[in-house]
């Protein structure tokens, strides 16, 4: 096995990525009246990772992961992306989990940055994924 350098080990621990958010079918069907239910957690408290990125990190599908940006931190579940390849990019569906970490600056035109934000992602096995209500009550 190849000997790991310091940089490789850092890469294993913390994956530096670009975060984007957006719609998915399951986030869309969990929209009406289901935001306070478990279904919403399953469809929106996730982070889709590129299969190659998963391979080169210590994160496995289904792991609890912590995503950190300059705006905040959120804990979600890692899933393998169905919209791959997108090496270096992670995707969180629209919703309160994504909103914990997206950009706040409206650039003088009223639009916050929901996409293309620098982020770090790492496994967080001891952390709990909060449901939507717990998440907003923590704010």
């Amino acid at each position: 096995m190849k000997k790991l350098g310091i940089r490789d080990r850092e890469m294993l621990e913390k994956l530096k990525v670009i975060l984007i958010t957006g719609r998915t079918i399951s986030q869309g069907t969990a929209r009406d009246g289901k935001k306070i239910l478990k279904e919403y957690v399953e469809s929106a408290a996730i982070c889709e990772l590129d299969p190659e990125d998963l391979e080169k990190s210590r994160i496995k599908e289904g792991d609890t992961v912590r995503i950190k940006t300059g705006y905040g931190t959120v804990t979600v579940r890692a899933v393998i992306s169905t919209q791959a390849p997108h090496s270096g990019i992670v995707f969180i569906p629209l919703g309160p989990w994504a909103n914990e970490v997206i950009g706040l600056d409206t650039d003088g035109i009223g639009m916050p940055s929901f996409k293309s934000i620098s982020a770090e992602i790492e496994a967080a096995p001891d952390e709990e994924i909060l449901d939507a209500l717990a998440l907003i009550k923590r704010r």
Binding site: I20, R23, I25, T29, K35, L37, L104, T106, G110, S113
Partner: protein, 434 residues
């Protein structure tokens, strides 16, 4: 005996498909016939336990059930004494409700805004700067031979867009349907839409502006850099050639372009690119609007005030200055002291810091279902669902108005949005002595 209602309009996404079949038995929808999971859910989930059946008012830290008139009166009291009210939501209700809402905003000196602010606001700013060459989806279906999706994934967000309007269907001048069309997708991920495309360009995040500029150079015959946003020059030139040789190009773009990088300047560039292409061929462009009547709000507000979103009535006349009068900014500046939220869930969809500000003020929430916003609201009034339990008008993403139908009676005692708003307005006027 089940009744089959045909040609039902789907009040879900901006496609506003009007060919659904709904099977009704004993005033309940038992089946929908359409090929879209998103639309079907809207019809089949009417009676889920989180449907709000009773109005409620927050008192001493808890909720108290209230008669609808009492809740409306309470909402009017909150709004009538507000100094800087915000009236927000609108994209999932019909145009008559919007019309009454604008009157209420004028009466209370409110800021009125809808979800445009956090989706295609930059698009509107850009088209006010540059202008737009567009058309109806019907024309695209009949004519387009090159269909381009940029920064959007309709297979997940507008599931029938390709099959009903753009790529797959047979059209008057495109008798062989998809065999006579070319599909190009430009995105940062290889999405489900990209997997259908003949040409997929995987652009790096935040490089849309540069790639658009490269295309504008390429079609005019100027030299393009070796690689732009991760796309090699040969590929850019190849697609540019295909564009120039097409008879009718339809470009669709999503929030992938409006929310990242240069935001409205990206859209300036894509609209200018559309204009450039007219030196060689016909080209139209359209934003992929999300909610079924987000466009309708822009229409109604424009014909009432002259402006499409983010209108501030605090001076007694409409003022429009996104970045200042847009919902995120007024909340971040902590100006708002009361919020009326209708047919929307901003607590679920605004950035964290913005929701904190919103949760600090009394919220009047008008919604059909429990949401994160109704959870933190001071007054909650249940509403009937437009397009299923209430008729009305909505605007498709191509600005075509479509009449929504009432196919079911709403649950007993539950009023349409427009009725709730009219009563609040009446009470506000009474309280203000007008």
């Amino acid at each position: 005996m089940p009744t089959i209602v045909t040609d039902v309009v789907c009040p879900y996404c901006g496609c506003l498909c009007d060919d659904l079949e709904v099977v009704i038995e004993d005033n309940k929808i038992v089946e929908t016939r359409c090929d879209c999971e998103l639309g079907a859910g809207r019809f089949l989930d009417l009676d889920i336990p989180t449907r709000i059946r009773k109005s409620r008012i927050r008192m001493d830290g808890g909720f108290k059930e209230a008669a609808v008139d009492e809740a409306i009166q309470r909402a009017a009291e909150i709004l009538a004494r507000a100094r800087r009210p915000l009236i927000y939501g609108w994209s999932s209700t019909e145009c008559d409700a919007v019309r009454v809402g604008i009157e209420l905003a004028e009466e209370t000196g409110a800021i009125i805004d809808n979800t445009t602010s956090i989706c295609h606001g930059p698009t509107i700013l850009a088209l006010q700067d540059v202008g737009i060459s567009t058309c109806t989806l019907g024309e695209i279906k009949n004519r387009a031979d090159l269909v381009i999706y940029w920064g959007c994934n309709p297979m997940q967000a507008h599931p029938r867009h390709l099959s009903r309007y753009t790529f797959f269907p047979k059209g008057f001048f495109r008798e062989k349907g998809q065999d006579e069309r070319t599909l190009v997708v430009i995105d940062v991920r290889k999405t489900d839409t990209a997997k259908l495309a003949k040409y997929f360009l995987q652009v790096k995040p935040n490089y849309d502006y540069e790639l658009l500029s490269a295309f504008r150079l390429a079609i005019k015959g100027y030299k393009v850099p070796d690689s732009v946003g991760g796309i090699p020059r040969e590929k850019i030139e190849e697609i540019a050639k295909i564009m120039k040789e097409s008879r009718f190009i339809a470009i669709f773009f999503g929030v992938g372009v409006t929310m990242s990088g240069a935001k409205n300047r990206n859209i300036d560039n894509v609209l200018s690119f559309t204009r450039d292409l007219h030196r060689f061929t016909k080209c139209v462009i359209m934003p992929m609007r999300g909610h079924y009547n987000v466009t309708g709000f822009n229409e109604v507000l424009t014909w009432e005030t002259g402006f499409p979103y983010a209108v501030d009535f605090s001076r007694g006349c409409p003022k429009y200055n996104p970045g200042e009068t847009s919902v995120i900014d007024v909340l971040l500046r902590e100006e708002v002291d009361v919020a009326l939220v209708i047919a929307s869930d901003p607590i679920a969809h605004f950035p964290k810091e913005v929701t904190k500000r919103l949760m600090n003020v009394p919220i009047v929430a008008i919604n059909a279902y429990e949401s994160l916003t109704t959870e933190v609201a001071s007054v909650v009034i249940p509403a009937a669902i437009a397009g299923i339990e209430v008729d009305g008008t909505a605007y498709r993403m191509d600005h075509v108005p479509i009449r929504l139908r009432k196919i079911l009676e709403p649950p007993e005692g539950i009023l349409p949005d427009r009725e709730i708003l009219s009563r609040i307005l009446e009470n506000v006027r009474r309280l203000k002595g007008r």
